[in-house]
Symmetry: C2
Subunit: 220 residues, 2 copies
């Protein structure tokens, strides 16, 4: 258990990128991993702020929740909140492509194919990673369908994360998860399998030990 | 009140069209209008089968619910179910565009724009409308952001509907709705505004009077 109390930002859930007033691109992220992480943070006595896309899940009552819709909104709320936090856990699945143009009226069917150009949205976790001050830490999630381990290491480095949680698409909208936790050198320090609550408890134990305690120690 | 009991199909909720194993196109349809319509159907003593996309809403316990994910799955379940029904109410918001190609692995970000070609999905209500046998009826919903009345009439005709409910984007994921009900000649027979439960009760009263009773009368 930590003696030092921390204020932790969790991003959670999906975001939406609208094509027109009705249709949007998203993913099935349920916010369950974020909710489980928030509960685990609170159990250790820390404070938690959740920046969440639209979800049906209920977050712990003791958590501060900032609702957002798009990736840009998540980025704005997360970077602003991070300034007052000791660390951040990026459990959200922000939509990482958005239409270059948003139609202001509902696109009518014409019988013909429709070509849309998508551009990348800003990377929320990478932006937090780049903006870290001394002692601040960032834990990322990498969801990949192939080359999971390799791609998690690439993301760890590119996003300046202190720990990276690698998981697969089976995690989405599921009750359970199966993850590998990588340290900042890309070494797997724990493999965790079970309910999202169990995974969250184990992740928080590692974060508490390696990041929250660590950042309060004098630099050597 | 009807003396003749009917078996009614309701399509409800959104559908999803996947770009890859994680990302998909959808809309914010909550299934609340479908749930309210099902409750109104049951109140009149009729039987109801709901073909529903992924929603968080709870349908009445007495309703048979067939869950689907994509528009093609909704089409298949609805056309099969419609064979044993007296009528259908198309309250779903099926995703009407799908990527021409679905990537089997998660698309990796490259920093470059991504062009995707979308093609139209099958039209569930139009397919039901075309397959009507003697005495069967179909009620459609038209959601438009502009030229609402005109476009509802076009859809009424093209989809071979007996009644058309015209509403706007404010209906999506809302507790209330504001609709116009058009008869098969495109005449507005009732404007309804209120909770989705109230709108559903009024729509069912009209359907009961104009379609369920009517279809049991000998043809003149």
């Amino acid at each position: 258990m930590s003696n030092k109390l921390a204020r932790i930002l969790i991003t959670s859930g999906p975001t939406r990128q609208y094509l027109d007033p009705v249709r949007y691109i998203t993913n099935a992220s349920s916010g369950r991993m974020g909710a489980a992480l928030a509960a685990a943070v609170l159990k250790l006595g820390h404070e938690v702020v959740i920046v969440s896309g639209p979800v049906a899940v209920e977050y712990p009552g003791a958590a501060t929740v900032i609702p957002v819709l798009t990736t840009d909104e998540m980025l704005l709320a997360a970077t602003e909140t991070f300034k007052t936090c000791d660390g951040a856990i990026g459990a959200a699945a922000p939509c990482d492509y958005m239409p270059r143009e948003i139609q202001t009226q509902k696109i009518s069917k014409t019988g013909k194919p429709l070509t849309i150009e998508l551009v990348e949205t800003a990377d929320v976790v990478a932006t937090l990673g780049q903006s870290k001050r001394d002692g601040q830490w960032v834990v990322g999630f990498a969801l990949e369908t192939e080359d999971r381990h390799f791609r998690a290491i690439v993301k760890l480095e590119r996003k300046h994360c202190d720990l990276m949680v690698s998981n697969g698409p089976a995690a989405i909208d599921a009750e359970t998860n199966e993850v590998e936790l990588l340290d900042s050198n890309g070494i797997v320090i724990e493999a965790i399998h079970g309910t999202k609550e169990h995974v969250a408890d184990r992740l928080l134990a590692q974060i508490d030990d390696r990041l929250i305690h660590q950042s309060s120690k004098p630099k050597t």
